[in-house]
Amino acid sequence: MKAMLLGFVAIIVIAIGASNILGTLGYSSSDRYSGAAVRN
């Protein structure tokens, strides 16, 4: 059961981490869909 709980916790950690990392690198959702990279 611990492995299952760890797996679920990892999903949350990875999701929040990915969101923050992509945001920091300038690849947040808003950057990707409506930011300069798409407009230029």
């Binding site: 492995a3 999903i11 969101s19």
Partner: protein, 402 residues
């Protein structure tokens, strides 16, 4: 090869109207001066294949332009109608100051076909596939009941999956469920949730669904890589699988449980479905996450055309010049089609791994399964496990996976 095969299925699924139409004889357009005729319109409405070149090629000729000093000379040999036609068929020489190739596409009528597909075909067939799967599983349960351990539990357990294997499995499973639910909310929210809870509640839910879907995807990809690395060796098909399939796994017909290694043929089918469909879903998902940066389909169609397969199945030449928007539309459609198929497969997997079979859940719950269960469903694996366990410890500790 896989991507080509997948793309072929996609084309068969997506474009029956476009490619499977009947040929229509040449139309005399002299009466309309080359413009489309009533026959053209009727043929299109009847779903017949129409050679559009009389329109797509009629985009004017600057060489025929009147002298600049003559009457209407500034038109440059191209009428408004011809300009709009060129825009529609993607042959206009559009220059933009921002937005790159994407912004040069001013008219993309394929977008309407995609929208219609998403709002009708995808929702209808995808939704019924899931409902049908649930009904089939319920019927199976009512007809066969729970698959029990024939001689009862032995009371002794063996380690079936190590903690890292279970972690990888639950990472993949948990993320897939979240992705599936949020994906369904995005697709069906407007249809089912708005009438029940209103637009504001639906918008709030979809905003979060989008965040979850976009960011949980990375956990899914990691889980997919983990289970592939850990289990691919055990999922290579062998002769045992043929015997297992002939016997229907001892589940579909009779109660004679055929021998199996660590994974039986049914589990191998689940594994390869998850790896191949999940891999393709992940690939198209990344293409959707980073719009226009990862065009997949024009290249895939080019490879498919080279094999001659599209011609063999009557699709003709697949389009290799796709607008950036078309690439995104195809990626979304393929992503959703495969997701529905994989959800249906995973529903069956969840059923057999929980309520459908006594003792099965323990494998992924605690990692320890009852010896009688292992003997019944994975007898070859159990023998190998015991043999490895009896080996002297100095020759290497047995691993649960062997």
């Amino acid at each position: 090869m896989l991507r080509m095969a997948l793309a072929l299925v996609l084309m068969l699924t997506l474009a029956p109207a476009g490619f499977a139409q009947e040929d229509t004889p040449a139309v005399d357009r002299s009466a309309t001066g080359g413009a489309q005729t009533l026959e053209d319109i009727l043929a299109r409405q009847a779903g017949q294949k129409l050679d559009d070149s009389f329109r797509s090629d009629a985009v004017g000729d600057p060489g025929n332009a009147a002298n600049i000093a003559a009457q209407l000379g500034t038109l440059g040999g191209v009428s408004d109608a011809e300009t709009w036609r060129a825009l529609r068929y993607g042959s206009a020489n559009v220059k933009v100051s921002a937005g790159g190739d994407v912004a040069t596409v001013l008219v993309q009528d394929g977008g309407m076909r995609w929208l219609e597909f998403r709002d009708t075909t995808l929702r209808t067939y995808g939704g019924w596939l899931l409902v049908g799967t649930l009904v089939a599983l319920l019927a199976f349960y009512l007809l066969h009941g729970r698959i029990m351990i024939d001689d009862g539990r032995a009371g002794r357990t063996v380690t079936r999956f190590k903690a890292i294997e279970r972690f990888g499995h639950w990472l993949l499973a948990g993320s897939f469920i979240l992705l599936g639910v949020t994906g369904l909310l995005v697709l069906f929210g407007r249809v089912f949730l708005v009438p029940l809870f209103g637009k504001d509640a639906n918008a709030f839910l979809l905003e979060w669904s989008k965040w979850v879907h976009n960011n949980v995807s990375w956990a899914f990809i990691l889980g997919l890589v983990m289970i592939f690395v850990m289990w691919v060796v055990h999922n290579i098909p062998n002769r045992t699988d043929l015997h297992w399939l002939k016997k229907g796994g001892g589940i579909l017909f009779g109660h004679d449980h055929p021998p199996a290694k660590k994974f039986n043929a049914g589990q191998k089918m689940i594994f390869w479905s998850v790896v191949l469909f999940g891999g393709s879903i992940a690939l198209t998902g990344v293409a959707l996450l980073f719009p226009f940066d990862l065009p997949l389909f024009a290249k895939t169609f080019h490879l498919l055309n080279a094999t001659g397969l599209p011609h063999m199945v009557g699709l003709g030449e697949l389009p290799v010049q796709l607008a950036p928007q078309e690439e995104m539309q195809l990626a979304q459609a393929w992503h959703a089609i495969l997701a529905f198929v994989l959800m249906a497969i995973v529903l069956a997997h969840i059923y057999i791994g929980s309520v459908g079979m006594e003792g099965a859940y323990d494998a992924m719950g605690t990692g320890e399964v009852d010896e009688a269960w292992a003997e019944q469903h994975h007898s070859i694996w159990l023998e190998e496990y015991k043999a490895a366990e009896q080996e002297p410890k100095d020759s290497g500790a047995p691993t649960p996976a062997e």
